[in-house]
């Protein structure tokens, strides 16, 4: 399938990465791979993703609303997040939307702000175009600064972290079944079997405001980060995701294999994935000494 990404995945963004983390001993190098696919059942792809290699910003969205308006919602959401984060980087006076949290970094708050703005834009677009009424989107975004991974999300698109062989879901789905599991009135097994899996409790653009969840992680060499739409997680189990990430030789291979797996299992929905692999750029002690010298000099 054709990649609808805005920034094409660049191979050569290590240089920028290196500059960002020069105070640190290790140079984290981020290798990104991504793919979106129609799946085997749907007639149009309402998923959308974008990667900004310079900013190390990764955004994925799954649109909803009939007659191709899901695409409008997901594209508008992703583009708004990218634009707002870029503006935030260029000018500290860029306004913050939504209530910033004292629990997370400025970057993470900026990412949440971008989603608040995306919500407003999609909501306003739907309000002024009656044919778009009811459109909305999920969104999951990851932003890496030095070793800090910022995550923000709304809906049931997910972020995972694979570390030392074990896969951890970083996001809590904003879906009816997941919320019921969290308050203890549904078991995870019942949730998996439920017909209500497509019912979201939060989405971008369906209300005048939205609550955005954030998370932060410290990255280490060897980590993999996965952002995906529910077209993957409805079809492929967590252990299968983990083993695919572990046995691929590159981020792009991981992305391709995950999409293929979802399609092999029926491809009931559009499926999109962004895979990030965290590698070490500075391998030798000699390299480390050079960095140390540069920093202290």
């Amino acid at each position: 399938m054709e990649l609808p990404s805005i920034g094409v995945i660049a191979c050569g963004f290590a240089a920028r990465t290196a500059r960002c983390v020069s105070q640190s001993r290790l140079l984290l190098h981020i290798q990104a791979g991504a793919r979106t696919d129609l799946g085997r059942v749907r007639k149009n792809n309402e998923d959308f993703f974008a990667i900004d290699p310079a900013l190390q910003l990764f955004v994925l969205s799954d649109g909803m609303g009939g007659e191709a308006h899901g695409e409008v919602a997901s594209q508008l959401s992703v583009q708004t997040v990218l634009t707002h984060c870029r503006q935030g980087e260029n000018s500290r006076t860029t306004p913050i939307f939504g209530e910033p949290s004292p629990d997370v970094s400025e970057r993470t708050n900026r990412l949440a702000s971008a989603i608040h703005l995306a919500n407003r834009k999609v909501f306003e677009s739907a309000a002024s175009n009656p044919e778009q009424s009811g459109m909305g989107a999920t969104i999951v975004a990851a932003w890496i600064e030095a070793q800090r991974l910022s995550i923000a999300h709304v809906g049931d698109s997910r972020a995972y972290l694979l570390r030392a062989g074990s896969l951890e879901q970083l996001t809590a789905d904003h879906s009816l079944v997941a919320e019921k599991v969290r308050v203890g009135i549904l078991t995870p097994q019942e949730a998996d079997a439920s017909e209500m899996q497509s019912v979201l409790t939060r989405a971008v653009g369906t209300g005048s405001s939205v609550e955005v969840d954030t998370d932060e992680q410290a990255l280490v060499v060897g980590d993999s980060v996965l952002l995906c739409s529910d077209g993957l997680t409805r079809m492929v189990t967590d252990p299968e995701i983990a083993s695919t990430l572990l046995t691929s030789t590159s981020a792009q291979e991981s992305a391709d294999r995950l999409v293929d797996l979802a399609n092999d299992y029926g491809g009931a929905d559009n499926v999109s994935v962004i895979v990030l692999r965290i590698d070490d750029k500075s391998e030798s002690v000699f390299e480390r000494l050079k960095i140390w010298k540069r920093n202290s000099g």
Partner: protein
């Protein structure tokens, strides 16, 4: 006969028939529907019939009246509508005689279930109230009132005691680390502590930490008094007043 049904967390608390006289809603005891909650103004809103239509009017309340999740000053009501005041819901039931449940009337064709959709207002509100109740319960847990701290028992760190604040607390050599470890070969991120809804969780970074002498597998919840070992550093996790 039409009626208003006052509900809280899914339980019907009171029914008030709708007649020619306006129905008043508020915290003061002389309201037709009294809601004893600080989020509700003394005289919060009223519902009355005007030119054959049922109308809700907010009486300039502090926290507002919401009709199907939209804040309203004055709005026409129809059967099945939900007025939200504070955490209480007031359902409009005009089909009472027909013994039809208020939310039993489908206004739109049922969506195909494999098509993603957003939860309707009633259901979402119910769920939010449930979650809020769960949240209030967990806030009563003793840990929530106290400050989590890490005290260094052994090892080379930049401080002897740390307050654990925010979603992410890094233990390592990195500049972003809260607990900064010294030494040439200490990793940037040796371990990390993440704040979740129900407490603090320890996870590995480049090192596998131990809690009370046992190596952890995956994220592990920290309890008051736990002894954490990361490499050669020993930390005591404690909630303090």
């Amino acid at each position: 006969m039409s009626r208003l049904v006052l509900k809280f967390e899914n339980a019907a608390l009171k029914e008030v028939p709708l007649g020619t006289r306006p129905v008043t809603i508020g915290r003061a005891p002389d309201n037709d529907i009294q809601i004893d909650n600080l989020a509700v103004s003394n005289y919060h809103a009223r519902v009355y019939v005007e030119a054959g239509s049922l109308v809700v009017e907010d009486l300039n309340s502090l926290n507002g009246s919401f009709l199907n999740d939209i804040r309203v000053e004055r709005a026409m009501l129809k059967d099945g509508d939900a007025i939200l005041i504070g955490k209480h819901e007031i359902l409009v039931d005009q089909a009472h005689d027909a013994a039809q449940p208020a939310d039993g009337v489908r206004k739109a064709p049922a969506p195909r279930m494999n098509e993603t959709m957003i939860l309707d207002t009633h259901e979402r509100r119910k769920l939010l109230d449930m979650a809020a109740a769960a949240g209030e319960r967990s806030q009563l847990a003793p840990e929530r009132m106290r400050v989590p701290t890490l005290t260094v028992l052994r090892g080379s760190t930049d401080q002897k005691e740390y307050r654990v604040a925010g979603k992410l607390t890094v233990i390592g050599h990195s500049k972003m680390a809260t607990v900064r470890l010294r030494g040439w070969f200490t990793p940037d991120v040796a371990a990390q502590i993440n704040k979740h809804e129900d407490g603090y969780y320890l996870g590995r970074g480049d090192r596998v930490p131990k809690i009370n002498g046992i190596s952890i597998h995956g994220l592990t919840k920290l309890n008051d008094g736990d002894l954490i070992e990361v490499g050669r550093v020993r930390l005591n996790f404690r909630y303090r007043d």
